[in-house]
């Protein structure tokens, strides 16, 4: 909705991605502007701050080549919007919402602000419908449900990419007749990673929409990409009634971009230089997952992040964990043992699992099998420390059996290479493992 355009040539100063414009009347906070460079290049930006007639603008891209005399700013009178249409399914876009698949942009049916609106808490429906990822460690022990946000905490060098790809390929709804679309947002991808994901997308059976922000794209776009993806997801879910799974990778790149932008704005840094509002900012993304009473679709979110220095108390995993409903934690130790996916189920948790499993959801015995597996594996893991001290020979027979159970659990239950398992296969695998070690399941 472009009511009118105001063009200004009154730039007073430029510093990094920030531009001050003078003598501006009626600017709006968050308003989209277009910056016209002396060489006629165009770049988008946003009104960050208004002080009398001086307006501070954040430019989304590189400000090299911009000058004070010959550049101009066009005000749009509207906040940043995303174009939407059912035709978006199957398309790939970059972080500025431009097609990357060689086809023209669809004709938008409508436009919505990319920051979205908070779901009224009284309108939320409790998430309780099972989504099958195909991975036993998730489906069996840390079950994902529609409307949940469940991040994967990875670390440098661990196969989070392969795991995300596995989920992109294998995720299914319990009710296969319902429409299901995966929205994929890639933030700060290297070319290598991009080629990898491109192949995955080409092979996908479910519908998808992808937004790809490359490592050398402007950092500011990295902050917009997930918002485009989520605006599209909300549209697909709450207007078209589709169940949407959003995979965002890598949130660490997002947070670093947030820090970089914040520093450029000369804001006060918080822990490890990340801005004090990072919790609220991350929440403005993660909280967009959900289900709404009386509406058919849902937005489920699987953000992937890399824990810097493998440290789970680092602000990125820490603040994420404070907002999401659980976490799937990858382990370097399991990866070294050649286990894929290398998920350590002990610190992993799906907080919304309780309502999504059992009769009518997965299988009647799910809760029992999952509790037993967790309990005995935890016991076995505890005993490993003792084994390291007294040696295997110094242990009782029952302790040795627990040790073996823990080992087999990792090698056979968690480890599944790229083979997809249904939740029934997962539970059966769990039961047969428990029985082999003499645990009574009935």
């Amino acid at each position: 909705m472009r009511l009118s355009e105001h063009i200004y040539r009154t730039i007073s100063s430029i510093g990094g991605p920030l531009v001050f414009v003078d003598k501006v009347f009626s600017a709006r906070i968050g308003e989209m502007v277009r910056i016209v460079y002396p060489d006629n290049r165009r770049m988008d930006g946003e009104v960050l701050k208004i002080d009398g007639e001086t307006v501070l603008i954040q430019v989304y891209g590189d400000t090299r080549g911009l000058d004070v005399e010959n550049s101009s700013i066009i005000f749009s009178e509207t906040v940043k919007l995303a174009p939407l249409s059912p035709d978006i399914i199957g398309r790939v876009f970059n972080g500025s919402f431009l097609p990357m698949d060689g086809m023209p942009l669809f004709i938008p049916e409508k436009q919505s602000p990319i920051t979205g609106f908070p779901i009224n808490p009284s309108a939320r429906a409790r998430p309780e419908e099972f989504i099958e990822t195909g991975f036993s460690c998730i489906d069996g022990l840390n079950t994902l449900v529609k409307g949940q946000k469940l991040p994967i905490f990875s670390a440098a060098g661990l196969p989070s990419k392969e795991m995300a790809a596995g989920i992109l390929r294998n995720a299914r709804l319990a009710d296969e007749t319902k429409r299901f679309v995966v929205v994929f947002a890639a933030l700060g991808l290297t070319f290598r990673e991009y080629s990898f994901y491109r192949t995955v997308l080409q092979e996908m059976r479910t519908g998808f929409v992808a937004f790809v922000n490359m490592a050398d794209d402007p950092v500011m776009e990295r902050l917009l990409t997930p918002r485009f993806a989520l605006t599209v997801s909300e549209y697909l879910a709450f207007e078209l009634g589709i169940d949407v799974l959003v995979v965002i990778t890598d949130m660490t790149n997002y947070c670093d971009a947030l820090r970089e932008v914040s520093t450029a704005r000369e804001e006060l840094p918080g822990r490890r230089g990340y801005p004090g509002y990072m919790y609220s900012d991350l929440a403005s993304l993660y909280e967009r997952a959900g289900k709404v009473k009386g509406l058919a679709g849902s937005v489920t979110m699987l953000p992937v992040l890399t824990m810097p220095e493998d440290d789970i108390t680092h602000p990125i995993p820490d603040l994420t964990g404070y907002i999401t409903e659980g976490q799937i934690v990858l382990s370097r130790d399991l990866h070294r043992k050649g286990i894929f996916p290398p998920v350590d189920v002990l610190p992993s948790l799906s907080r919304l699992m309780q309502h999504g499993i059992g009769a009518g959801h997965t299988r009647e015995d799910h809760r029992k099998v999952s509790n037993l597996l967790y309990k005995y594996y935890a016991k076995g893991r505890d005993l490993r420390r003792l084994e390291a001290i007294v040696g295997r020979d110094g242990m009782t027979d029952s302790d040795k059996q627990m040790l073996d159970l823990a080992g087999a659990f990792e090698q056979e239950f968690v480890n599944q290479e790229i083979k997809r398992r249904t939740v029934h296969e997962t539970l059966d695998a769990g039961i047969s493992l428990l029985k082999r070690f003499g645990v009574v399941v009935e």
């Binding site: 600017a27 906070i29 906040v79 820490d318 309780q354 003792l386």
Partner: protein
């Protein structure tokens, strides 16, 4: 005592937006008072004056400012930020500014857009008023005039003035109607407004003598809370703060609960609401929602309203306390409130203190905690307001400013331990680090009202846990096989104390444990320990001693 509604009388007080930065707006307006409520922009966003500067003022806006434009109008109300108080709050769900979320949804759909003002109370609804006074009676300020039935509660109306009653109704009325008249032409009303940042008046504070039973064995026995007291529980993510808050909301032995979801998740509120409508209050047998007021400002809702939410909640809690009820305020999480304060402070470009928090963090916190207490109300009744608040320290690090500021004022400190949570020991209350300052003064109550053995069994429980801790180090070196039988027995007893007594799964029947059950549980374990020890002394083998002592029970 009332703040008259004057929004419409001061419409002449209008100015314009001169600057916007995040949630703060500069206006060129005269005649505003600090903390006055204002309406900002054509969307009429709610704001509060936070600073007066030269010819203008700085406003903190409680809603999303995106799209707000330079030059848009700003209107003063002449009043501070208030909440509306009257019958109909119970079972309601409000945002940080006390907008009723259910009605907001009916009017604007499932997503919250800005600038919609809705009143918390239903001014159309008919209530049956039962007078307690008659014409000619003299009343004092704060005295009960009469009541309506709000669910199972008598909702008392208190006089706002001293005076003599000329006229008082007996029958149906709505909140727009008068309840009668006092001499001097003063109206008696069924609802009132109160500025959220001002504590409501009381006659005096009283020492607290009664426990606040939570139904959590580890709290009630080891770290008892007191009615009118304050407790905080800090813990990293996933340590069970929310589940604990919710469990206490379900089972606490109080009359009214105000629950604040402050900057937390929308899904867990949906879960809680769906669950609460199916549950009953174990103490009164009535529907749980009927005693609960929800204030919800999730993490993605505006930050400034998050800051206001705990004040909105505590004012409603005080309102019911003033009728002579025992009220409990639960907030999850206080850290999110503090972070909101920090975000606002930094957008005001105030000088930051530790970790960027404003230097007034600690004093704001302690004056908030001071609103708790056992009180003699203006009408001479006994009422209490207790607070149990969760804290979310970054990285689980308890040396951070919010935890530290809470520690200085709160009466009980329940430390939730990440390693216990990873072992799925819930509630993950660390039994060595936590404390309650109320323990001593509550001891007589437990001894007299629950069991004469209360203190003794508590000591035994602590002793077992302490000895286990020192034996654990030995075991790490030599294995359990290397211990003597008595010590191995103790390890088994300690495990039972941890799993059967301290541990309480919130998803099972065991989620609620009344004091008599609590004492039975620990009693049984302590007796088992005594019986088995006795047998060991007689030379019975450990396994046999354990087995026979278990069967004996």
């Amino acid at each position: 005592m009332t703040v008259q509604r004057t929004e419409h009388s001061s419409e002449h007080n209008v100015g314009h937006i001169k600057g916007i930065s995040g949630p703060t707006v500069t206006v060129d307006m005269q005649g505003l008072k600090l903390y006055d409520r204002v309406y900002v922009g054509r969307a009429m966003l709610t704001g509060e004056v936070v600073r007066l500067e030269g010819p203008g003022a700085i406003i903190q806006v409680y809603e999303d400012t995106r799209g707000l434009g330079m030059g848009e109008p700003v209107k003063g109300t002449g009043n501070p930020l208030t909440v509306r108080l009257g019958p109909g709050l119970l079972a309601g769900m409000f945002d940080g500014l006390q907008r009723p979320l259910e009605r907001l949804r009916e009017e604007t759909g499932p997503f919250i857009t800005t600038g919609k003002e809705l009143y918390a109370l239903d001014y159309m609804k008919q209530w049956r008023f039962h007078p307690l006074k008659k014409p000619g009676d003299a009343v004092r300020m704060g005295e009960r005039l009469g009541y309506v039935e709000e669910g199972p509660f008598k909702h008392y109306f208190l006089s706002h003035y001293d005076g003599a009653i000329l006229r008082i109704i007996d029958g149906d009325f709505s909140l727009n109607d008068s309840l009668g008249e006092l001499d001097g032409g003063r109206d008696m009303v069924g609802c009132t407004e109160w500025p959220v940042r001002t504590p409501r008046p009381i006659r005096r504070k009283l020492p607290s003598r009664e426990p606040l039973i939570t139904g959590q064995r580890s709290i009630d026995m080891l770290f008892p809370l007191s009615r009118g007291g304050t407790a905080v529980f800090p813990g990293g993510f996933g340590t069970g703060k929310t589940i604990l808050e919710q469990s206490i909301a379900k089972f606490a032995d109080v009359e009214i609960v105000v629950y604040v979801g402050c900057g937390e998740r929308g899904n867990e509120m949906a879960e809680m609401l769906e669950e609460f409508v199916t549950l009953t209050d174990p103490w009164s047998g009535r529907k749980l929602t009927e005693r609960t007021v929800f204030v919800v400002n999730t993490s993605n809702m505006p930050v400034a309203a998050r800051e206001a939410s705990i004040y909105t909640a505590v004012t409603m809690a005080e309102y019911y306390r003033d009728m002579g009820y025992h009220v409990l305020l639960l907030a999850d999480s206080l850290s999110r409130w503090a972070e909101a304060l920090r975000e606002i402070s930094s957008s005001l470009e105030e000088m930051p203190g530790e970790e960027g928090y404003p230097t007034y963090l600690a004093s704001r916190l302690s004056s908030f905690f001071e609103r708790a207490g056992v009180v003699e109300t203006l009408s001479g009744e006994l009422g209490s307001l207790s607070m149990i608040l969760s804290v979310s320290p970054p990285g689980g690090d308890l040396t951070e400013p919010v935890t530290q500021a809470c520690l200085r004022t709160a009466g009980a400190f329940l430390m939730l331990d990440t390693s216990l949570a990873h072992r799925r020991h819930f509630p993950a209350i660390n039994w060595f680090q936590s404390y309650s300052l109320y323990e001593k003064e509550l001891a007589p109550h437990f001894r007299e009202k629950v069991s004469p053995r209360w203190e003794e069994l508590k000591q035994k429980c602590r002793e077992v846990l302490r000895r286990e801790e020192s034996l654990r180090e030995v075991t790490e070196l030599v294995g359990i096989e290397g211990l003597q039988d008595a010590d191995r027995l103790l390890m088994q007893v300690a495990e039972r104390v941890r799993t059967e007594f301290l541990g309480q799964n919130a998803y099972t029947e065991d989620a609620f444990s009344p004091p008599d059950k609590t004492i039975d549980r620990i009693g049984a374990i302590v007796e088992f320990h005594a019986a088995a020890s006795e047998k060991l002394k007689q030379g019975v083998l450990l396994e046999e001693a354990v087995k026979t002592s278990l069967n004996a029970k």
